[in-house]
Symmetry: C2
Subunit: 340 residues, 2 copies
């Protein structure tokens, strides 16, 4: 699949990466090495690499800030850049830690940091990124830097609650659809909402603009997670960087899976049986499990729910009365085109 | 051993614990449960407990703040209290994470949190405490809250570097005394130095007072770690909450151990041999290893170095020209009386 990246994503990566690298360069040598590998800037031996992520969250920060305050306020670019770095630091803290907890061995087509440097080194690198995030905001010179730092900290705790819920789901057979959607909100949508609102918040934009962008980000973040769940089932390995049917292999209780199990259909029951089987699922059983999700109507429901979330997101944006929302729309479109 | 706690410690625990509990109460239910167990406020089943730590760092924050700004500045007590909570949050973040990384199963006479709730839950609780620390400072209303938050973040990264170095030492036979002292600085002294200076920094005290208290805390923190290293060798289990000779059992490269190994004596060589032995050390070999540290002159050296650090700490305090340093002296005295 060849996808043309939206201009905003390319621009964000180019403009934010130098500041992100400068922040990471403040870490001690050992921890920095792990972080630079994780970000895709270096290989395990320290030689340079070019395997960075999509910088979706930084792009959202930059574009959302522009849509709320334009270039009217002095230093807008600097503040938005700092906010973009801070959000990306928190996102990567959570990736480093989650990969250890989940035992995930592959990310962005490469071995995860803990498989290369050990769990402790990966945990310390995550800790260090988390500790950098408020500093970057507080040093940005933004008028409301402290509010922005507190918003990002609060969001970090929502992420943590989401990961705790996700881990709890592993040992539970009775996960409901609502709590599964709640977990998706906490693990993913909360930080996207923060990304969409933290720049304007830092700069003291109108409260209803900040609130509108936060609500927009929440819906967009839910849509993003739903697409991710579909990709975890049917995504092609060269797109996802993960083996086919990987979420089923790991028996993850993602939204489509939980929707199927809670559907009251025979297919949902069969899926539950497969998830409760003590032995690892065979390739045939994996294919069967995916088919059960589809036949329970849960692939369809997830796609529709994703489109519904995007429509609500659009309404939020319109209601917030922002100037220039074209780039935001382009980013949202890109997120969904990944799969739907 | 019955030790009378200095008044400042008792007072700090009483005055800081409610705010610390209120901060922890902001966490999600799962994570809060782990944190409350770790702090000694509850048992594994959630029933109330009274097994809290010594609150040494909060006491240092309160006492150092009073010595630098007295009660002259409005809101001093509130700001110092918030700083004390923030420092204690970072300290306990590091305990929760280090216990997982080091595989330590006992702390404060109780099973460590990860042995009760699992590694992931303990890691998430540590993450959550770390994320709370800047919030508590930024909400304190202190004039220089942002500087204080940045100082605490920077200190957190020194802690992380110290833990990374400590983990690196495990697989190295050639650890030198200077880098071992550097690790002790990073893991312990840096946060004690921050505890001694963060209150005055938050309140905009004279720069030389802040600097003097930071230098004082660095020396006091080194003395504290040296005492801790001696306790790890010869401390009584009922005092330390750990089995006798526990640091030797875990082959930790603490200051007295590294001093002995680097002493060029036959005893140091024998100690190194024991540490390199593939099998677990027998009780006899543990006793022999401790005797080697003693006979290499390293127990003696560590005690003397500890006293020297305390003398330098005193000089720093005098040079800083502070008002009321009696309580600080009492706390320092208490730290050392634990063993010397």
């Amino acid at each position: 699949m060849t996808t043309v990246l939206p201009e905003a994503l390319v621009a964000a990566r180019e403009s934010v990466e130098p500041a992100l690298r400068a922040a990471v360069a403040r870490l001690d040598r050992d921890t920095r090495r792990v972080a630079e590998y994780h970000f895709g800037w270096s290989n395990a031996d320290g030689s340079p690499a070019d395997a960075g992520g999509k910088a979706l969250r930084p792009a959202l920060v930059l574009v959302a800030t522009r849509s709320a305050v334009g270039e009217r306020v002095d230093g807008t670019g600097e503040v938005a850049g700092a906010a973009a770095v801070a959000v990306e630091l928190v996102h990567n803290f959570s990736l480093l830690h989650d990969d250890v907890m989940d035992g995930d061995t592959s990310r962005r087509h490469r071995p995860t940091a803990w498989t290369v440097f050990g769990s402790s080194a990966a945990l310390l690198a995550g800790d260090a990124l988390l500790s950098l995030a408020p500093d970057v905001l507080l040093e940005s010179g933004a008028p409301n830097a402290a509010s922005a730092a507190r918003s990002l900290s609060a969001t970090t705790r929502v992420l943590i609650a989401g990961q705790a819920a996700d881990l709890g789901f592993e040992t539970r057979a009775d996960v409901g659809l609502q709590e599964c959607l709640g977990m998706a909100h906490d693990k993913t949508a909360a930080l996207i909402a923060c990304a969409c609102s933290i720049g304007p918040l830092s700069l003291g934009a109108r409260r209803d603009a900040v609130r509108g962008l936060h609500a927009y980000g929440t819906e967009l973040g839910m849509a993003f997670q739903l697409v991710d769940d579909l990709l975890g089932l049917w995504g092609e390995p060269e797109v996802t960087g993960k083996p086919v049917l990987s979420d089923l292999r790991a028996r993850k209780k993602t939204v489509p899976v939980v929707h199927a199990m809670a559907s009251g259909t025979a297919e949902g029951e069969r899926l539950r049986e497969l998830y409760e089987q003590p032995e690892a699922l065979t390739e045939e059983q994996l294919a069967e499990a995916a088919e059960m999700v589809r036949r329970a109507g849960s692939e369809d429901w997830t796609r529709k729910e994703c489109r519904r979330r995007l429509a609500v997101a659009d309404e939020q944006l319109t209601a917030a009365g922002l100037d220039n929302t074209e780039s935001l729309g382009e980013l949202a479109e890109f997120i969904v085109r990944r799969k739907l």
